[in-house]
Structure formats: structure tokens, C-alpha cells
Amino acid sequence: MAEPLIEARKVEKFYGVTGDNRIQVIAPLDLCIYPGEILALLGPSGSGKSTLLRILTGLAKASAGEVLWHGQPIDGPVPNVSIVFQSFALFPWLTVLENVEAPLKARGANADERRKRATQMLDVVGLDGFESAFPKELSGGMKQRVGFARALVVEPEILFMDEPFSALDVLTAENLRNELLDLWEDQKMPTRTVFIVTHNIDEAVLLADRVVVLGKNPARIRTDFHVDLPRPRDHKNPRFSELVDYIYTVLTQPDAHPEVPAATPSKPHYPMLPHARPGGIAGLLEILADRGGNEDIHHLAHLLSFEVDDLLPIVEAAAMLGFANVTEGDVEMTPQGKEFLEADILHKKELFRTAALEHVSLLAQIVRSLQTKSDKTLPDEFFEDLLDEHFSEDETRLQLETAVNWGRYAELFDHDARGERFFIPEESAVAETIAAR
């Protein structure tokens, strides 16, 4: 592993003298900040996150322990770091440009160079044209952009951010977060590492490569793990929610020590649909019922003069829907399968629908997507794009074909082959209620 940029060793913070009246704010803790990562420090309010940030930047002194910068103990502010503050901390009497120039002036840069670099940086954060405005003339989001420009103009080794989005409204914060990520991904940010303090779990999982969660009274590290999600990250990704849930558990249950949920590596989002028709599934179940509800697959294939390979998709489909169990080459009808078999046609469709929505994520996904549209229709391409990542081009087409078959049977949605669109027919109100549930 690379050399840490900043290393905290047995750093702690307390007020009062040793003894009963000593208030421990931060328990002795070790923390390393490495180059090339976005590190999010999470913790409940009042847990000492901001204090820890100030100790790491050298703004505040630790009561004990030491902070090393490139292996050297620090005394006073670390030479080349920046902070983006929650309250922006812009100087209201300086123009936007003067605010961004201020750190350069402190480093002794001459007027021309300052102007050039500050203007450039304002460009990067999307504030060109606002150079001569005063901060109070700007909206909150724009103020924080000035804050970013001021922090980045000195090309800090580490960009520290102290709840940079908390003072902004939800939409502005979201917007700014994404822009920050874009800058980071495109390597337009002249900084090696970002350290962000936040109390927003979503924000941490969305932004960070590594998440450190602090506990309270006194602050100590509860967990420290890498976020293994590729970017851009999607809130709807199950792994995303899994990590959010995990952090939530850590934060809300001070005494619990849950394991970081193991990543299920590249598990296809959409389990492959076996290419079987609903009628085929019903047929298989009838035969099974005839044979006492249980049969060896090879035997079955032989009986029906099928190739095993041809029979397998039907078996898999039945198993997927929960109508049959497959164990060691035997296929066995489940009670649900029995119920399905014995039901009349309307009830059959209903049972199929329930099973499909519950077990077949592709179908559920299609219904959900269609539901979000006001006209309840989406082009084929939309779903093709979704499946692209997981299947080959041909397989994608087959998957959608099967999905259409199943969806039509379950009366979940229909497909217009000529218009190449999926849609929910208006009369299938049933589908809506089920999907809404």
C-alpha cells in the first residue's frame, strides 16, 4: 500500500484533567489517509467528526497522540491542505475573485498569477462571469462553488470537506455532489485525496471509496471499509442499499458489531430467464402430477423423447416460479405447483402473476419501469440497454421474447412488435394493483 499522506497515531481529545471530571471526546484512534481515495467520515451529530477533521488538518491540537504528515509530526496547520466549510466561510467583503485569490496571496503569488489561476479555477467550478460579484449576491450553491474554487486553487494535497452540502437544499446538494464526482473522475480536481465529513449515509456511499464510521461518547472508529461499487453509482442498486443499511445499523446500534456485508461479486442483476412458455410449464406440472409429483429428470426426458437440454429450461422455469423443486437430478412438484395446476384459467393467471413478480426480477423490473411512465409505455431499446450489460445481444433479444410471453400470460404488460414498445394495457388494472403492492 502507498505511503499515507496523513497518519493519526493514538490521537485523542479530552477536556479537563485526568480523573473523574475528564470529558473524553475522542478515544485514542489511528487513522491513515492515503493518496487517490475519497474518504468519507461518518458519525452521528456530536460525535466529534469535525473535531477529528480539525486535528487532522492541524487546526486543532490533539490532547494526546500525534499526527504525521508524510511521516513528519506536525505543529500547526498542515502546509498544503484546504478545507471546504459547511457555512462556506467566504469573506463577505471580498469579491468572488478576491476570495479565491486570497489563499494564493498568502502564498506570496503576484497579482497576475493570482488572477490567472483564480479565474481558471472559477471556470472549472462553473462560475465564470461572477468574478466581481460579492458572496451575498450569490445563492447557497454558488457560494459553495466559490468555496470549492478557493479550496482547489492552491492545489491541495488533501481536500478536506466539513459537511459541505448540509447547508444546501436537497436538489442543489445533489447537483453539486455529482459535479464534484465528475471533476474527480475526470481528474480535473488538482488534489490527490478528498476527505469528507458527513452525517448523510447516502452521500458517503455515493461519493466515497472508503467509509469510516465513528461512534459516539467518546468518538472511536466503529468500522472502516472500502465501497466496492463501480461509478456512477445507482441508489437503486441492491448493493448500494445493502451498504446503506449496514452503516445505518452500525450508527443506530452502538453495541452491535455487524460484519461488512460480503460483496456478491458480479452476480448478474437479472437471473437468466429460462426460455420456456407458460403452457410448457403447465404441461410439465401435469406430467409430474401424473407421475406422483416426483420424477428423475433424465427419466422424464426419456419418457417424453426429449433431449435433456430441451427439457431443462421448462424445469428451470418451474423451479424459478416456485412451482417445482430440483434436487440431485430429481424434479418435485411443490404445493404452489399443485395449486397452480388445479386452478381454473383465471386463477392460474393470478398465481402465475404473483409468482412471477415475486421471483422473476426482470418481469418485476419491466412492470416497475412502465409504471413510472405516465403513459405506461417504454421502447424495447430501454430494456435492451438494461440487459446489455448482462447478456449478449442475441440472448438479450431471447430474454425479452420470453419476458413478453410470460408477461402476456400473467397479464402484466403487453408488447407492440411493430412499434417496438412495451406497454401496460389500460384494462389490466390488476397489474397496477399488484405492482403497487
Binding site: 491542505v81 478545507i83 466549510f85 457555512s87 466561510a89 469573506f91 467583503w93 506570496g108 460579492f134 478557493r150
Partner: protein, 573 residues
């Protein structure tokens, strides 16, 4: 806009700026001229019996003299206030003692220093007018510096934590920090306190332009001495001329100094959103448009600041520890202070030994009399200013008319009016016993009035609506809404007013008038007469008693009231 319209507007701008530049240039020349003239007068021999002309044609020059005294004292005060506030805010060890000193000096009546300071200065410069001049300047300085120092200190302490951290993490040098963080943050407080201070300065200036000390008669040509001699001679015409000049000076100062300063300081307001109605000043707008001044700034101040900032930035980076030097310096300063204080205590003790028991009793009795007078003045002032202030504060229409008038009335220094009022009193056949209360009122009622107006304006309109909806009676309205609402402001006004009244007693209870001495029984008269007679032991004793009394009343009465106001009657959010 059409091309012609555009052209015309450019031409208009252009001629305007030339005119403006001419005006600025003339103003600068005039300033240089007046500095030369004042210098010439200061370096002349002491004119211990300088005749003060009562001709109106002398007034412009006299006004200039008074103004220059004020200006010099003010600049000194500003420098001192900033230095003192800075050290008090950043030196943890000195902070406590420096604040205590500030608190006490703020409440000591400055006029009791007058004789001592004058004698010292004249002794230092025996043959030059400059000794008396410096004496008056030192007195004005001591009258106006403390609240400015306190304001600067308080501003430094109130700088938001994150701004401070930003300046640290971005490694500002001390000069950059001072220019971009500390000074801007403190500016608004400094401007307002400067206004208060200068108003107070006029009060002392008028008193010390003409006074007698034993056999010696000190006169400085100026507005104050003009008014005093006019009143002494009973010359109504000259009195009116003098008052007119006084008011003119005050209005000019307001238009050319304070309005622009306030409008300019608006820029330093620490607010997140822009205010809707920001104060404006036509003078400031003109100055901002002047290309000459802009050029001048670009060529002198900006490069100078650049160079200094670059140097201090570099210095900060390669900071070496001069702690040994610092310790030596601290020891030297502490020793000097200790020596001066020790010497002072020794001398004072020596002087006080000569005080007889009877004199002590008289002093204490007279202190009681003045205390009673101060109380009466405060009560009378409150009785009319509270209803008036509340009425003005509640009615924006009334405020538009009344506030500027009151501001001008308030800024006419009471000491300038004393001779005039006294003349009126004598003609009506009143004595100084009641008259001195009136004189105290003159100077102090305004503090209460303005604070009550501010308090009444600050009462949220919801409170009025509540009173309206629940049909509060007039009495209930005063008891539950108005009085609690203005209470913190009222306390502030009363504290300032009581300090002012004590100070005024020194000039109000004892008066040289038309060759006679008018006096009444009181601590102020005690101080003044001791001054006149050159009785230093009584002078010292009564000064000490007055200072002790004022400080004690502050601690025992005003401070608890202040705390009550802060904790219970503060409107938050």
C-alpha cells in the same frame, strides 16, 4: 440605448469626473494649507491671555482649530484602540487585566483629569502653545478611546470560527489576516463607536478650550472658547453666530464624514443575503466615481499593500522563534508599568496625607449631593424620553421627521450650550442648584432617547398584533409588551447617561461667568474649585471618590441589571 444617448451619457460622466477631480484636488490643497496654519499657531509662544475674538469673521478659523484638535485626537484614539483591542484579544495572559483596566477607565470622569494633564503638558512645553494644545488633545483622547478599544476587542472575539479557520488553513500572514479578516469584521462597530466617541469628544473639547487653573487662564482659540466668551459677555449676537457655526460644523461632519463612512461600512456587514435598504451617501458615490482617486489608489496603496503582504507572507513561512526576545520585552514593559504605578501610588498617598478630616467629610457629603442630582437628572430624562422614544419607534412617519432633528440636537455638545443656558437661567432668576440638573440633562437625555427608539423599533410586529387581538388595555400593553421589549436598550441608555451625568457635574456645578464664580454644593464643584484654587490634595481626593463611586455603581447596579436584560428580556431569533 441609441448611440447618441450612449455618447451623451459618456460625455456627461466625463465632465462630471473632471469637476469632481478638481473638487478633490482643491480639498487636498485646502487640507495642506490648514495643517500649515494650525502648525504655525501651535508653535507660537504661549498666549496665556489670548483674547478670543467675538467677531463672526473669526468663526471659520476657530471652527478649523477645533476640528483639527478633534481630528488629531480621533486618529490617535483609533490607533490606540486598534492596538489595545488587538493585544487584549490575542494575548491570553494580558486579556483579563487589560479588560478590567478598560472597564475602569471607561467609567472614570475624564474632566477630573483636566487640570493634571494641562499642568503636565504646559510643564513639558513651557514656551509653546503646543503644550496646551496637546493637553486638550490628550483629554479628548481619553474621553473617546475606551469604547472604541472595547468595540474592536469585542469584534475580534466575535469573528466566526470558520472564517478564522479559513484564514489559518490558507496560511494568511498577519498583515493579510488583519486587512482581509480582522479589520473588515470590526469596521462597522468601529464606525458607530467613532461617531459616539467624536460626539463625546466635542463635549470635552468645549470644556477644555477655556479654563482657569489657579492664577493661570488657559485659552485656546476655538468654537468652545468663542461660545464661552460670548456668553460671558452676554453678547447674544455672538452666541447665535457661534451656535450656528457649531451646528454647521456638525452637519458638515455628518454629510462628509459619517454618512459616507456608514454607507461604505455597509460592505463589511456580515450577512448572508443582501439588505434591501442599504444606507447611501452622495459624497461616497462621488468619491467612488472619481478617476483621480482610483488612479491614486492603484498607484500607491495597492502596490504598497501587495509588497507588504508578500513580505509578511514570506516571513510567516520561515517563522523563527523569538520567544527569548519576547520574554525580555514583556519584562521591560511590566517593569515600566509597575514603576509608574508605584510612583503614582506613592505620590498620591503623599498628597492625600494633607487632607483634613473635615475636608473628607465635606467631600463625602458633596458626593451625596451630586449622586442625588445625577439620579434626578436620570429620572427626569427617562420620564420624557421613554414615551417620546416609544412613540417615535412605533411610528415610521414620526421617526422620519423626529430622528434627524434629534440627532442634530444630540450632537451639539452640551458644554457648548452651558454658557448659553446659564445666561438664560440667570435672566430667569434661577440658581445653579437646580440649573446644574438641567445642564446634566442637556448632555445625557439623548443616550436614553436613542436607545429607547432603537428598542421600540426592535419589538416584533407580532407582539403588537397579539396586544391588538387580545384587546390589551394601555396599561397592560406597557407592562407586558413595551417595557420588557425596550428594557435591555433602556439599561444601555441609562448606563451611558449616568456616566455622562457624572462627567457633566464637573462643569455644571461650578462656573466662571461674567467675571464671577457660580457654584453649588456637589462633588463636581469640589473638583472644579479645588482646581481653581490649586488645592491638589482635595482635587485628588474628590477625583478618587468620584471614580470609585462611578465604578461601584456600575458594578452594583448597572451590571446586574444588564445581566437581567441579557438573560431574561433578550429577544432572540
Amino acid at each position: 440605448m441609441s448611440i447618441q444617448g450612449l455618447a451623451r451619457s459618456i460625455v456627461g460622466e466625463r465632465t462630471w469626473s473632471l469637476l469632481l477631480d478638481a473638487a478633490v484636488f482643491v480639498a487636498i490643497l485646502a487640507m495642506i494649507c490648514s495643517v500649515l496654519m494650525v502648525g504655525h499657531s501651535w508653535l507660537g509662544p504661549v498666549e496665556s491671555h489670548a483674547e478670543i475674538s467675538r467677531s463672526p469673521s473669526a468663526l471659520p478659523l476657530y471652527s478649523l482649530y477645533s476640528l483639527v484638535r478633534m481630528a488629531v485626537a480621533y486618529v490617535l484614539s483609533l490607533i490606540f484602540a486598534v492596538t489595545y483591542g488587538y493585544i487584549a484579544a490575542y494575548n491570553k495572559r494580558l486579556q483579563g487585566i487589560m479588560l478590567a483596566v478598560l472597564d475602569i477607565l471607561q467609567s472614570i470622569p475624564v474632566l477630573s483629569f483636566l487640570p493634571g494633564v494641562m499642568l503636565a503638558m504646559v510643564a513639558l512645553f513651557p514656551t509653546r502653545q503646543v503644550g496646551v494644545e496637546i493637553g486638550s488633545i490628550v483629554l479628548i483622547f481619553t474621553g473617546q478611546v475606551w469604547n472604541m478599544a472595547f468595540s474592536f476587542y469585542a469584534s475580534l472575539k466575535a469573528i466566526p470560527k470558520e472564517l478564522r479557520e479559513a484564514s489559518r488553513v490558507y496560511r494568511f500572514g498577519w498583515l493579510q489576516r488583519f486587512l482581509q479578516l480582522e479589520l473588515p469584521y470590526a469596521t462597522i462597530g468601529l464606525v458607530w463607536n467613532s461617531m459616539v466617541s467624536v460626539a463625546g469628544g466635542w463635549f470635552f473639547l468645549m470644556a477644555c478650550e477655556m479654563f482657569q487653573l489657579g492664577q493661570r487662564d488657559f485659552r485656546l482659540p476655538g468654537l468652545g472658547s468663542y461660545l464661552q466668551s460670548a456668553a460671558s459677555a452676554g453678547d447674544t449676537g455672538a452666541i447665535l453666530w457661534g451656535l450656528a457655526a457649531m451646528i454647521a460644523v456638525i452637519i458638515l461632519l455628518d454629510q462628509f464624514v459619517w454618512r459616507p463612512a456608514i454607507a461604505w461600512s455597509e460592505k463589511f456587514k456580515f450577512e448572508q443575503v443582501e439588505a434591501t435598504a442599504a444606507p447611501e451617501s452622495w459624497v461616497l458615490n462621488m468619491l467612488r466615481k472619481s478617476p483621480l482617486l482610483t488612479r491614486l489608489q492603484e498607484m500607491t496603496l495597492t502596490p504598497l499593500e501587495e509588497k507588504l503582504c508578500a513580505r509578511t507572507a514570506a516571513a510567516e513561512m520561515s517563522q523563527t522563534n523569538g520567544s527569548a526576545g519576547k520574554v525580555v520585552l514583556a519584562v521591560i514593559i511590566a517593569t515600566t508599568f509597575a514603576t509608574v504605578i508605584g510612583y503614582g501610588v506613592f505620590e498620591a498617598a503623599n498628597t492625600l496625607r494633607g487632607v483634613s478630616g473635615a475636608a473628607l467629610v465635606t467631600t463625602i457629603e458633596s458626593a451625596g449631593a451630586t449622586f442625588a442630582r445625577v439620579l434626578v437628572a436620570l429620572v427626569i430624562a427617562s420620564l420624557w424620553t421613554i414615551p417620546a422614544g416609544v412613540a417615535i419607534g412605533f411610528s415610521p412617519r414620526l421617526a422620519r421627521v423626529a430622528q434627524p432633528l434629534a440627532q442634530i440636537a444630540a450632537s451639539v455638545p452640551a458644554t457648548a450650550l452651558f454658557p448659553v443656558v446659564l445666561l438664560g437661567l440667570l435672566r430667569l432668576g434661577g440658581g445653579l442648584t437646580a440649573g446644574s440638573v438641567l445642564l446634566m440633562l442637556l448632555g445625557t437625555q439623548w443616550y436614553i432617547l436613542f436607545n429607547v427608539i432603537a428598542g421600540a423599533t426592535a419589538i416584533p410586529s407580532e407582539f403588537h398584533e397579539v396586544a391588538e387581538i387580545f384587546r390589551f388595555s394601555r396599561l397592560d400593553r406597557w407592562r407586558t409588551v413595551i417595557l420588557p421589549g425596550i428594557f435591555p436598550y433602556l439599561v444601555t441608555g441609562l448606563v451611558t447617561a449616568s456616566g455622562g451625568a457624572w462627567n457633566a457635574s464637573i462643569v455644571a456645578e461650578y462656573f466662571h461667568f461674567q467675571g464671577k464664580v457660580l457654584q453649588t454644593f456637589g462633588l463636581g464643584a469640589e473638583i472644579s474649585s479645588a482646581t481653581d484654587a490649586g488645592n491638589y490634595s482635595v482635587l485628588l481626593l474628590s477625583t478618587v471618590v468620584m471614580a470609585t463611586l462611578v465604578v461601584t455603581v456600575n458594578r452594583m447596579l448597572w451590571r446586574p441589571l444588564y445581566r437581567l436584560a441579557e438573560s431574561r428580556y433578550k429577544l432572540e431569533g
